[in-house]
Symmetry: C2
Subunit: 340 residues, 2 copies
């Protein structure tokens, strides 16, 4: 349990200091890339891209790619270019997600689909999608491209699974893990694996970093799903109860449904089947989930996955790898304790 305790404000500050140089360089690489495109592309497209891309994102994915590449021996500036591709794909999916959800805001200001319209959001997403693939192919070769495309396809699968399951309130834990693996974990696993691949990492190193990414991605999504019930809107910037309002079955609710006594279960079902009730019953549903340990057991599972993420990193045991290994472990702990 040692990895999971004692991650305090002090550690968080230390982590931020460790990652800052990389985040700054990724940001600079993105600005340089977008500037270099400006003369060749439509001015409105470029405006939309700047608006959507530079909004204070955490650059979590590029950071993972950068650190993974460095752990496998690559230290040149090319890693920032490769890393940027993961942010592009991530943003492309966010643009499309916000169209799909008809979202109003993203990071506290109008989402691209609201600021520039649906058409611009779909097209700018397509542009970033294509550009990310081109960069991955250029920096990581065909094998990297293959892994990347498998991750994208897997994301679409995950979304479709969710689409098919929208009115299925009797989901298993397995359904949930299949969906979050596709939706989140595959791309994060691809990020760390491709970082390693592009740096010429050995098979063992690639596998270790893939396992790290995959487990980290799952835990990340699980905490996200917890915050949707328990987060503080002032900190997360998002209202609570979205998932319930949409009838989306995430792990806390799935656990409660599967464990509830008949009466509670019928009550939950009645709420879930009525979209008005879903919007009004957050407190009540939260109470039932609490009763059946849905939140604590979700947290425990996320902690397990974080341990599974950190454990394979042991192979990076050289002293010059200490700093980057500390970053990956720190990010994993941050995922668990994050409030937003």
């Amino acid at each position: 349990m040692s990895v999971l305790t004692g991650f305090e404000k002090r550690d968080s500050n230390h982590l931020m200091e460790l990652i800052k140089p990389d985040v700054v360089r990724v940001e600079a690489a993105m600005r340089f890339d977008i500037d270099s495109l400006t003369d060749q592309h439509d001015q409105l497209l470029m405006e939309v891209l700047r608006y959507g891309l530079f909004n204070g994102g955490k650059r979590f994915r590029p950071l993972l790619a950068t650190v993974a590449a460095r752990l496998c021996g690559e230290t040149g500036p090319d890693i920032y270019r490769l890393a940027m591709a993961f942010e592009y794909l991530h943003m492309a999916t966010l643009f499309h997600d916000d169209v799909i959800d008809n979202a109003d805001t993203r990071r506290g200001r109008p989402a691209v689909n609201k600021a520039y319209g649906m058409v611009a959001a779909i097209l700018a997403g397509d542009f970033l999608h294509a550009r990310s693939m081109a960069i991955i192919g250029e920096c990581g070769g065909i094998e990297a491209l293959k892994i990347f495309c498998l991750a994208t396809s897997g994301m679409v699968d995950g979304e479709f699974l969710q689409l098919r399951n929208t009115t299925n309130f009797n989901q298993s834990e397995e359904d949930y893990f299949t969906a979050i693996t596709g939706k989140t974990a595959l791309l994060i696993a691809a990020t760390t694996e491709i970082g390693s691949l592009a740096a010429g990492g050995k098979s063992m190193e690639r596998q270790a970093l893939r396992r790290y990414g995959s487990n980290l991605g799952c835990a990340f999504q699980m905490i996200d799903d917890l915050l949707d019930y328990l987060g503080d809107p002032n900190t997360t910037g998002k209202p609570v109860g979205n998932d319930l309002a949409e009838g989306k079955m995430t792990l806390p609710l799935i656990l409660a449904m599967n464990r509830a006594e008949l009466q509670d279960r019928q009550h939950l079902l009645a709420i879930l089947q009525n979209s008005d009730l879903r919007r009004k019953s957050l407190t009540e549903v939260t109470g039932i989930i609490l009763k059946y340990n849905g939140f604590t057991d979700t947290k425990t599972k996320a902690e397990e996955m974080i341990r599974e993420a950190i454990s394979p990193l042991e192979i990076f045991s050289r002293s010059d790898q200490g700093r980057d290994r500390m970053i990956l472990a720190g990010l994993a702990q941050y995922v668990l304790t994050r409030k937003k």
Copy 2:
């Protein structure tokens, strides 16, 4: 003018016979690919893909890639796999276009966004987009991928130019050619160039096939824009007057606007600025375009571009290239005379 005359029903039948074996093989390659994906991907996604992909499309782009590759010496079955990627990207853009236009039908039946909903249409488009890139990278290498991504980016540029110009009724011929190059010609040029590249074509061959594709693509779009005014809905399967109703400035109308006397010009502007009038004034606007030779001059320009498309093919002069050269020339003539 010889290439442009005498392309009668008989020639069209002959062309169809020449291309049939390739079209059948491309279709088979696509079915094989989709079948091979079925076990690994979401069942609803696969249903949407089958629905959207197998609807009697002409497979124009894969055919161009196939013939270009063969002209450059590649005769193995791999060319059909490569060719398929161009249909995938084309369909991906159609799925997204239909979402953007909120289209009801495609090829006489509900469009994907109507049959399965907007979310499914966006996601299935993203899936095909990723898959097409993976196949291009796999079959054509990184250089092919680069050309392909430039074409996709160019398509987005073309769409954005159109988006910016929606209320600009004073467009130049140059604006029009920039837009259709991005929207249509770049991808067709990429198709023939990558076909050549993947077959190991010489630089001269690649250039010739790129010029063919680029000119063919422009001519194709110009005829499309003519048919939007003059086509027979029973033959095209689409109502006439769509572009006018949307206020979309295509070449016939641009020519008329730029040439019209003050009174006609003001009258056209008054119609264009009012969406109700635009929907009601097709006959009247058609009359004004006729008066200023907007249709005949569009047709003449398309004929010029078809000559520009066919002329570089002269370098493929070996007797064993005759059949494929005849197909490309025939397709170009077909584009000019097509009624749908």
